[in-house]
């Protein structure tokens, strides 16, 4: 160590403490606070939204206890408590009340509490829900023997199961296990019937229809001459096939009747608290349990089975019950098809703009226009998609390749393909911008290294620039996917439907049917929230479906992010 005091005087007073009142903005602190505040606000909004969806979505399927409510006027009903709120009873409602109750309400500022119950039994009451004010209630209890029954039709039933019959054998007031003993058999018979109807009869119908179309096609090919020899030949062939198909149709119908007869031997009688009874086939129940008797394990099992049904089953009862499998599937297929379209399209455009086009006014204008495309209202894309893709492109495809099906459109109406194309158009600016940025960030030294080896420009792009830019391109694709999966408005015009009879990918040739209309989670949310019989019944489904939609987008994104991480590791490495 050298002696610094030798040539430098030692400083005695140290003044580096900031003076009080010195200008804080000089160090930029207000800006930092401002930015931090803005970030915190954004994060809180997002977390709040997620928490709302997740909490409401997760509790929906948990079995809730049933309450029997006795009213002071002697009536009573049974229901699942939904929520409690404070309201202001109307004056004429107040005037009917006893003085004591009225005084109590008035002392509370004219407010009273009321509870909403889900009472089910729509077939008996014409209503699924009922409000009851606290001052009307004489007593509440939780009878253990009450059942909650989910049915294929008419929604839930709440009440008692008073009888179960299997053939000639009939049991009055059966126990849970006695009902359950027959339930599985009845259910499997119903499933068998559904399978025959859908798969076997479905296939026969498909082939009958194909035969009919073949004849029409032949007639069209022969210039409308129904007696042309070529038409004759086809007609004869189809007629021969038809004999066989008709026979198989008869057999399948017979089978269905057999199964239905066997299934019909099982029935249950349901009796609501008012005493009205209804007898149903046992197989028309979906699930039944005694909510007030459930242990935690059984609750969990019901919870799990409801989620499973929701994810793998098809919707029932105008989408308010059952599952959303077709919507999940439709969303996934559409998003993936869209990505497959938008990725090459966006990347090629960006490559040309960045690498080949002469940078100048025209390219700048193109670039600005592309960026501005992102600001066009999405419904406009929907209108364009319907007009251009479905009617013009699809109409021409139909006229060229499927004339025998006209006037029924094949491609000439909304479908998965047109939806994916429309959304690809909507999201392509995102991919273009991200790709251009990724291309620009490829170090010059890499390109030069490749060119110096004697590579052509295209070889350099193919082998050096694109791999190196791949993670950045993936980022664009992730953003595009997230945007595309959440978009609903344009899809309502180009192919999304409330209920799609068939999935876009299935087991009938040619397996991928991109011309079909499809179901979409985003539209499903809109549908159950605003288009269903009862908004109260749709509300939990909105949360659950939103949760699923977020989940689907998350899964797609996590997958894409994984791919990007691998690309990054492979092509960018860490260089020091």
């Amino acid at each position: 160590m050298t002696d610094i005091t030798a040539d430098r005087p030692v400083r005695t007073s140290v003044t580096f403490v900031r003076a009080k009142g010195s200008d804080v903005s000089a160090v930029g602190e207000p800006f930092i606070w401002g930015m931090g505040g803005a970030l915190a606000f954004g994060v809180i909004m997002i977390l709040g939204f997620l928490a709302l969806v997740i909490i409401n979505g997760l509790v929906t399927f948990w079995p809730k206890p049933l309450e029997e409510v006795r009213l002071s006027d002697g009536r009573s009903f049974v229901g699942e408590p939904v929520r409690v709120e404070t309201y202001r009873p109307s004056p004429d409602q107040l005037s009917k009340l006893s003085d004591e109750v009225k005084a109590k309400i008035l002392s509370d500022g004219g407010f009273a509490n009321r509870s909403l119950y889900r009472i089910g039994n729509f077939d008996f009451y014409n209503n699924d829900f009922q409000w009851v004010a606290d001052f009307e209630v004489a007593g509440r209890s939780k009878p253990a023997d009450l059942y909650l029954v989910e049915r294929q039709e008419w929604g839930v039933f709440i009440g008692k199961i008073t009888a179960v019959r299997a053939g000639d054998e009939s049991l009055e007031n059966p126990t849970y296990n006695q009902i359950n003993a027959h339930f599985d058999e009845a259910r499997s018979l119903r499933a068998e019937r559904a399978r025959i109807e859908r798969v076997e009869i479905g296939e026969i119908n498909h082939r009958l229809n194909a035969g009919r179309l073949e004849i029409r096609r032949a007639v069209l090919d022969a210039g409308g001459d129904e007696n042309a020899p070529s038409v004759r030949r086809i007609t004869d062939k189809v007629a021969a096939e038809r004999v066989d198909l008709d026979r198989r149709f008869q057999e399948a119908g017979q089978k269905v009747n057999d199964v239905r007869a066997r299934d019909g031997r099982f029935s249950v009688s349901l009796t609501e608290v008012g005493g009205q009874t209804k007898t149903l086939p046992l197989s028309s129940l979906v699930r039944f349990y005694q909510p007030n008797k459930l242990g935690p394990g059984e609750s969990l099992a019901i919870y799990g089975s409801r989620w499973l049904e929701f994810i793998i089953a098809e919707p029932r009862e105008a989408n308010t019950e059952g599952g959303v499998m077709p919507a999940i599937f439709g969303t996934l297929v559409m998003t993936i098809v869209m990505s497959l379209i938008v990725a090459p399209f966006g990347v090629i455009t960006a490559l040309y703009l960045r690498e080949y086009a002469k940078q100048g006014t025209i390219v700048s204008i193109v670039r600005i226009s592309v960026n501005n495309l992102a600001g066009v209202p999405s419904i406009v894309y929907g209108v364009f998609g319907l007009g251009f893709f479905a009617y013009i492109l699809g109409g021409n495809i139909d006229a060229l390749f499927f004339p025998e099906r006209l006037p029924n459109p094949t491609y000439g109406t909304g479908g998965v393909l047109w939806s994916a194309l429309t959304l690809a158009l909507l999201t392509v600016p995102v991919v273009i911008v991200a790709t251009e940025e990724a291309l620009a960030s490829v170090p010059r030294s890499m390109r030069e290294g490749s060119l110096a080896c004697g590579a052509s420009k295209w070889q350099t792009i193919k082998w050096i620039v694109l791999p190196r830019a791949a993670p950045g391109i993936m980022t664009g694709l992730i953003l595009a996917m997230a945007r595309g999966a959440g978009e609903v408005a344009p899809l309502m015009l180009v192919g999304v439907v409330k209920l799609a009879p068939e999935l876009p990918i299935d087991f009938t040739f040619p397996y991928v049917h991109l011309e079909r209309s499809f179901m979409h989670l985003g539209f499903h949310i809109y549908d159950v929230a605003f288009q269903s019989r009862n908004s109260e019944a749709g509300r939990p489904m909105v949360y659950v479906t939103t949760l699923i939609l977020i989940g689907v987008v998350l899964v797609l994104n996590v997958f894409a992010i994984q791919v990007r991480a691998r690309l990054k590791k492979r092509f960018q490495g860490s260089q020091f």
């Binding site: 170090p443 060119l451 052509s456």
Partner: protein, 278 residues
């Protein structure tokens, strides 16, 4: 450090003396003949009437203060400057008598005859072996055996084989800076070029890695004509046979390295070599 008094004053072009040549035609013959070569970036002229003959099989060092046009001249030799908009040239450069500039020249074929090593190592985002065989991939070679042989030969040539022979299929990005630079040299020689162009190949490396590269250049001497740009006077003195000193886009003095360092004729050459400016 140069003291302010010795800093060169801006000079008008007329003040430049003609280039001093200690050698004109070496005994090994001329590989690259640069004749009255001028280059403009848009309106600014970066090279003024450079004329020199680069000898076959020898190491020629280009030295000079920053911004004097060394890189520009080097990059003109394999036409890397073509990428720049608004570039113009006059005069001529020939490789073994064939002109480099002209409408009929196949730039890609030309570059295949000239390997280039850059200031910062620029391995490609691929495996080590793929990096080395990149020039062969460009030529469409897919035969695994040929590729494997070429990899080994080039890596041995670049004195890297022993270090990486067990990790040929690992990413080249995981190597050290010095290894990466030798890999780039291996890549440059894998195409079996006539000329190696190196633009300050050691400036991003530590002394030990620098030493390795210098040894490597020494080994490559004779097999390739090497043109190397360097800022390091000792390095130029150690590894090069001939040295060209440039200043403000002009070739000031050109001769055998020994002569240039022991007995420079030009005033600026002497000042630069003795470290009084630059």
């Amino acid at each position: 450090m140069a003291s302010p008094a010795l800093k060169p004053q801006p000079v008008s072009p007329l003040e430049f003396d003609p280039t001093i040549y200690h050698i004109t035609e070496g005994q090994n013959g001329t590989q690259l003949n640069i004749d009255d070569f001028c280059l403009w970036y848009g309106a600014t002229q970066a090279l003024h009437n450079n004329t020199l003959k680069i000898e076959r099989g020898l190491v020629t060092a280009l030295i000079g203060p920053s911004g004097c046009g060394k890189s520009t001249l080097l990059r003109s030799l394999n036409r890397m400057n073509d990428l720049i908009d608004g570039l113009r040239v006059s005069g001529s450069i020939t490789l073994d008598g064939e002109p480099l500039f002209g409408p009929q020249v196949d730039v890609i074929a030309l570059r295949k005859r000239m390997g280039m090593v850059f200031q910062k190592p620029n391995p490609f985002p691929m495996s080590i072996a793929e990096n080395v065989t990149y020039p062969l991939k460009i030529d469409g070679v897919t035969d695994r055996k040929i590729l494997a042989e070429a990899t080994e030969a080039a890596l041995r040539g670049a004195a890297l084989w022993d270090e990486v022979k067990d990790r040929l299929d690992q990413s080249a990005l995981g190597m050290s800076g010095g290894q990466q630079q030798r890999l780039c040299i291996a890549r440059a020689i894998a195409a079996n070029p006539d000329v190696l162009l190196m633009d300050e190949p050691c400036s991003a490396l530590d002394p030990i890695a620098t030493l390795k590269i210098e040894e490597l250049i020494d080994e490559l001497r004779g097999s390739y004509t090497i043109v190397i740009v360097t800022h390091n006077m000792q390095q130029a003195a150690r590894i090069s046979d001939n040295t060209a000193f440039m200043y403000l886009g002009r070739l000031i003095e050109y001769g055998a390295t020994e002569t240039m360092f022991t007995n420079p004729k030009g005033r600026r050459t002497e000042e630069y070599i003795t470290g009084r400016f630059g």
